[in-house]
């Protein structure tokens, strides 16, 4: 919402400076977004009189001008074709900042001639795109006067951001009311006198339905004018509209715009001769069409309020008028529409039709319903004053919406909610200045004015009082402590996120954050088939149209982008949500990662190695360890089909899946245009059960043996298909009391090992607790191990 300072002062009697007005507006919640103050921008720029303009001795296209600046005559070299003796222009002295060229002027010599300033074009002042010549001011412009004043730009333009609840401040008068309440001057009442009509209106307002306070258009007022003279508006009106960026059209149209921006009262005028019969407020019929004032034809339906005559629709209620019945330069008879339209329905229609207009903007925020009466009076006065002619009697249809509401404001409520101790007289004074009728001595009863539909309860009254009294009175009170000691912020389950993140970063991976959505084709490759509930209805584009069923596709893309930028061997992870379905439980938290290509790059100290399934397994297990998963996890085959079927696995606790790991399926790697293998993992952070709550944090007792452990190696020959884990478990369980660990340290197949077999070597640790083991005891355990492994896997000890 834009307005000028002088416009504001028509509604506000004040001596406040521009800065005071600016600060007060912002602190009232009418945030000042910008002030265009030409007087400030063009400070030092004056009206200059060209005493003499002669050809530059050394340049065909330049002139040397002697300019009277009112405080002396200076020489300026000018390149404009229209620079001539006797003209008046805008003179910028040396040292000025020229906005259009973003330069500071310097006194200089141009081709040997002194130039101590500049005569400016419109473009150089950023007032328009015109750069055909320098500004040619009227002959009566006073030499030496500030240029901004001579250009009619000495009125600062203020732009404020109006929040959706403050429709009443979409008119200058409403803004002035807020400022007056805050002590920045006195609100001037505006003059809207009832003009008695001299004839009966030949066009009457009617309703196509029984109008009720909650109808799409509860009430409409209007009247007929005859013998008016349309044409260009007077200067003051044109200037006012131009200052806030509106294009003057004709005096009748300009009047409607003026009242819209001045009093937040949108109006419409029809060319009465183009109407047939009475005007009716009704809902559109399916398929009805209207060529609107924006030049577009709209097809309507019964949800849209329209204004129609006996023949056709001529306006979209609260949004826009029709082209065919609009006023023209030669219009002599007009019909005025001053209506109230329901905000919610107006907004819905506007959205449906895709029309933004100044009228819609206001109606959908709720205008003053009573304005149908004073708005008609104001419009009448302006039309008669600026266009002449005579007015008919008023015509009206419908009933006044029910805007009267009273709320109680308890005396302690302002302080209770805001923390500010507002004196009672200020509380009532502020509400009164805002237009509330206040009764009582605290508690008070406040009657809401017709222009404040946003006030719906006591809390709103508190806001009105405190924002006008000043939010800077709010005390700064630290929250009292809830308990002597602080509790953990995050639950053990929530802490798994930082635990996983730190574990993976410590393993050399870089954390990424990627979109929650991805392309549907990718999502479907990663398990989102048939999940229509996860497809966005209004995505930004097709590459972001489905909620991700896995984080991996995003990380694969990120890895490929990095490789394309020459950043090799990316190792990326993300800890975030993925979506199984659209329910709250369908969102699961996953730590996922990819490592591409080299695990060990070329280096002077040893061989290189590419990533493989065991890198992914190590990452997954590291995350599980970091989040406190139990250690009786098992790995098996059966990862989803985006992994390499032979080089991937599932980590489970019992039957529950904790994680997937493996090399990515070569098809997916190829699709991503990646050249080397990709090791990937997905750990389901919520899958491992939380440890049982115990009374204390005490660990179980640590029992250390004083006796040396013994390590024995066994090399087994076993069928190639036998899983190592099965063999190790068999060995481990051969003597649970004595064996504390068993691990694979060698795997061999090839020469010396029969086809279809492999050699698996394990180291078993024996830990006696009672005494040192004898050779015979070690021998006995070894035999038990060999027998147990043979029984479980068919393995034989390698000779």
């Amino acid at each position: 919402m834009k307005f000028t300072l002088s416009w504001l002062k028509e509604h506000l009697d004040t001596t406040a400076t521009l800065e005071q007005v600016r600060d007060a507006l912002t602190m009232l919640g009418l945030e000042v977004e910008g002030i265009d103050n030409a007087a400030e921008t063009f400070k030092g720029f004056v009206v200059g009189y060209v005493v003499e303009a002669v050809q530059h001795p050394n340049a065909d296209r330049l002139r040397v001008c002697k300019v009277d600046t009112g405080s002396g005559v200076v020489q300026v070299v000018c390149g404009a074709p229209n620079a001539r003796t006797g003209m008046k222009g805008v003179f910028a002295p040396a040292g000025s900042y020229i906005p259009g060229t973003d330069l500071h002027l310097k006194a200089s010599k141009i081709r040997g001639q002194d130039s101590n300033g500049m005569l400016c074009s419109m473009r150089e002042l950023q007032l328009s795109d015109d750069h055909t010549g320098i500004i040619d001011l009227p002959a009566d412009a006073k030499v030496g006067m500030p240029a901004a004043a001579a250009l009619g730009l000495d009125d600062p333009v203020i732009e404020i951001k109006v929040t959706p609840n403050r429709g009443d401040c979409l008119g200058v008068h409403g803004i002035a009311r807020d400022l007056a309440a805050a002590g920045i001057g006195t609100l001037k009442p505006f003059r809207a006198e009832r003009v008695k009509g001299s004839y009966a209106s030949p066009i009457k307002w009617t309703h196509g339905y029984e109008a009720r306070p909650d109808s799409p258009c509860p009430i409409v007022v209007g009247r007929h004018f005859r013998g008016v003279k349309n044409g260009p508006s007077p200067d003051w009106l044109q200037r006012r509209l131009k200052a806030i960026g509106l294009r003057p059209i004709s005096v009748l149209v300009d009047i409607t715009n003026l009242v819209t921006f001045d009093l937040n009262r949108p109006l419409h005028v029809f060319d009465a001769r183009k109407l047939s019969g009475d005007l009716v407020m009704r809902q559109a019929r399916d398929g009805e069409q209207l060529l609107a004032l924006d030049g577009k034809t709209y097809t309507l339906d019964p949800s849209i309020a329209v204004i129609a005559d006996s023949r056709a629709v001529h306006g979209l209620g609260g949004i826009m008028g029709g082209e065919d019945t609009g006023v023209q330069a030669d219009t002599t008879d007009v019909f005025l529409e001053v209506a109230y339209f329901d905000p919610i329905r107006t907004a819905a229609s506007g959205r449906k039709l895709g029309i933004q207009s100044d009228a819609r903007y206001r109606f959908e925020r709720g205008i003053d319903p009573e304005s149908v009466h004073w708005g008609a009076d104001m419009a009448t006065m302006l039309i008669l004053e600026l266009c002449g002619g005579e007015a008919s009697e008023l015509t009206q249809s419908g009933v006044m919406p029910d805007w009267r509401r009273d709320f109680t404001l308890r005396a302690d409520r302002v302080k209770g909610l805001s923390g500010i101790d507002v004196p009672a007289k200020d509380t009532t004074g502020i509400l009164t200045k805002l237009g509330f009728k206040v009764a009582g001595t605290g508690p008070w009863t406040a009657s809401v004015p017709s222009w404040r539909p946003d006030i719906v309860g006591e809390a709103d009254l508190v806001e009105e009082v405190t924002r006008v009294y000043g939010f800077d009175h709010i005390p700064t009170t630290s929250l009292p402590r809830l308990s002597a000691i602080s509790r953990p912020v995050r639950t053990p389950m929530q802490r798994r996120v930082p635990q996983a993140r730190r574990a993976l970063a410590a393993r050399g991976m870089n954390e990424a954050v990627t979109w929650s959505f991805m392309a549907r084709a990718k999502a479907e490759r990663f398990g989102a088939q048939q999940k229509t509930e996860l497809r966005l209805l209004n995505s930004i584009d097709a590459t972001l149209d489905t909620m991700r069923p896995s984080i991996l596709p995003n990380l694969i893309d990120a890895a490929a982008r990095n490789e394309a930028r020459g950043l090799s061997d990316p190792a990326l992870f993300e800890v975030g949500p993925q979506y199984k379905d659209a329910s709250p439980t369908g969102q699961v938290r996953v730590a996922a990662g990819v490592r591409h290509n080299m695990a060990v790059p070329r280096n002077w100290a040893g061989p290189t190695r590419t990533v493989d399934v065991f890198d992914a397994k190590a990452d997954a297990l590291a995350v599980l360890a970091a989040i406190g998963a139990p250690d009786n996890l098992s790995a098996s085959t059966g990862a989803p089909d985006w992994y390499h079927p032979g080089r991937s696995g599932v980590i489970k606790l019992g039957d529950r899946v904790m994680a997937y790991f493996g090399e990515l399926h070569p098809e997916i790697v190829a699709e991503a245009d990646l050249k080397g293998p990709v090791a990937a993992f997905e750990v389901f952070l919520e899958a491992p059960p939380l440890p049982k709550q115990k009374a204390t944090k005490a660990r179980s007792k640590l029992i250390l043996s004083p006796f040396q452990p013994v390590e024995r190696d066994f090399a087994f020959l076993v069928d190639a298909a036998v899983e190592a884990d099965k063999l190790v478990r068999a060995a481990r369980n051969a003597d649970k009391a004595l064996i504390t660990a068993a691990r694979v340290f060698d795997l061999y197949a090839g020469k010396g090992v029969p086809d279809g077999k492999k050699s698996l070597a394990i180291a078993v640790t024996l830990q006696p607790m009672e005494r040192t083991l004898t050779d015979a005891e070690i021998e006995a355990v070894s035999n038990k191990i060999v027998a147990a492994v043979a029984k479980a896997t068919g393995a034989t000890l390698r000779g």
Binding site: G419, F471, S486
Partner: protein
């Protein structure tokens, strides 16, 4: 006599000239071994007269001691030299790089979330979460944004197919639906009924249809919610003030300004500015010539409280919402929002944090 002197001279000079420990041992054997020259002298003692034996024996013993000492000294010298030679031969070029190992990093968003946890944790807040895919009621209606409310246009919402019962589904446009989910929680309601105070922060992903230089369709917010019977705007201001000072590490005074604003789910509503200045293109938070908008907040709207099953005549409190990406940009001088989500390794390494970056 001559024998003794000769043996002495020969042995001592052999010790001196032994080049390594092996040669030295040969010298020891030649002199003191079973068939050694000194041992040979000892063997001659038995043939001498008792007086001569005593005198000569003493001399031989002295010689033996002398040679042993020389051997020991030489052995030590040679050992030191051998160690020095070995150390010299083992020298490497320490300017060679360590074995390759990549340095992992944490994303600034997660880092800031951890900072939020620690600062608000000190103030007695706990961490609450809710789903990204929300139903229309929690995202809007519960928060006093009924269908067709103009405020719905303030937020460009991503929609998903409606539930079977017709409930519209959205990607949450703010973290505020978790306010509703928290207040509706039976345990929370009981805690409040028992006179307790609800203090939660809700960090998380949020979504709006916006995709330009300064907007991304996904971003991060943190919501704060305090509900009890007495908390007022002064506490809200104190909470934001304390947070900003801790987060931006402002030692001195921090100017803070509440400006009236509008959010459907708070009343009164405010936008908050904090003092700042710019020096050499770097933002300094603290007393300065400018204001920086930091968040929106207000007292929870009585209708929102009622919608969530609490009596607004009894309970009141405040809520605020802040952009996590934004405060990360402000604190760490990250110029471009879009780059947060691009996963460019150069960016992740430059703006990222080390794995064990201490969280206060």
């Amino acid at each position: 006599m001559d024998d003794l002197a000769t043996i002495r001279n020969e042995a001592l000079s052999a010790v001196e000239s032994a080049a390594d420990l092996g040669a030295l041992d040969a010298v020891r054997v030649a002199a003191l071994g079973k068939k050694g020259s000194v041992t040979g002298l000892m063997k001659t003692l038995g043939a001498l007269a008792p007086e001569q034996r005593k005198e000569f024996g003493a001399r031989v013993n002295q010689l033996k001691g002398e040679i042993e000492a020389a051997l020991e000294a030489r052995k030590s010298t040679l050992g030191t030299a051998a160690l020095a030679a070995r150390l010299a031969s083992e020298k490497v070029d320490v300017t060679l790089p360590a074995r390759p190992e990549s340095r992992g990093t944490l994303h600034p968003i997660g880092e800031v979330m951890d900072e939020l946890a620690s600062i608000f944790g000190e103030m007695g807040f706990t961490w609450a979460e809710g789903p990204d895919i929300e139903d229309d009621w929690h995202n809007f209606t519960a928060l006093n944004i009924p269908p067709d409310h103009p405020a719905r246009q303030m937020q460009d919402t991503f929609y998903l197919p409606s539930r079977a019962d017709g409930t519209p589904m959205v990607l949450r446009t703010h973290t505020s639906p978790v306010q509703a989910r928290t207040m509706l929680d039976k345990d929370v309601q009981k805690m409040l009924a028992d006179g307790g105070s609800l203090r939660v922060i809700v960090p998380g992903r949020t979504f709006r249809i916006d995709n330009d230089a300064t907007h991304t369709p996904m971003f991060h917010q943190v919501e704060g919610l305090v509900i009890d019977r007495v908390t007022h705007m002064g506490h809200l201001k104190g909470c934001i003030y304390d947070f900003c000072r801790a987060y931006f590490e402002v030692e001195g005074e921090l100017p803070i300004r509440f400006r009236p604003s509008y959010f459907p789910f708070t009343e009164p509503s405010a936008e908050v500015d904090i003092g700042c200045s710019w020096k050499d293109g770097e933002l300094r938070i603290g007393a300065g010539e400018s204001w920086l908008e930091i968040l929106g907040c207000g007292m929870v709207h009585p209708r929102a409280i009622a919608n969530c099953g609490l009596d607004p005549a009894v309970y009141q409190g405040f809520a605020f919402g802040m952009g996590i990406d934004r405060i990360a940009m402000l604190k760490y001088g990250i110029p471009d929002l879009r780059s947060f989500f691009d996963s460019d390794l150069r960016w992740l390494r430059h703006y990222g944090f080390s794995a064990l970056e201490a969280v206060r």
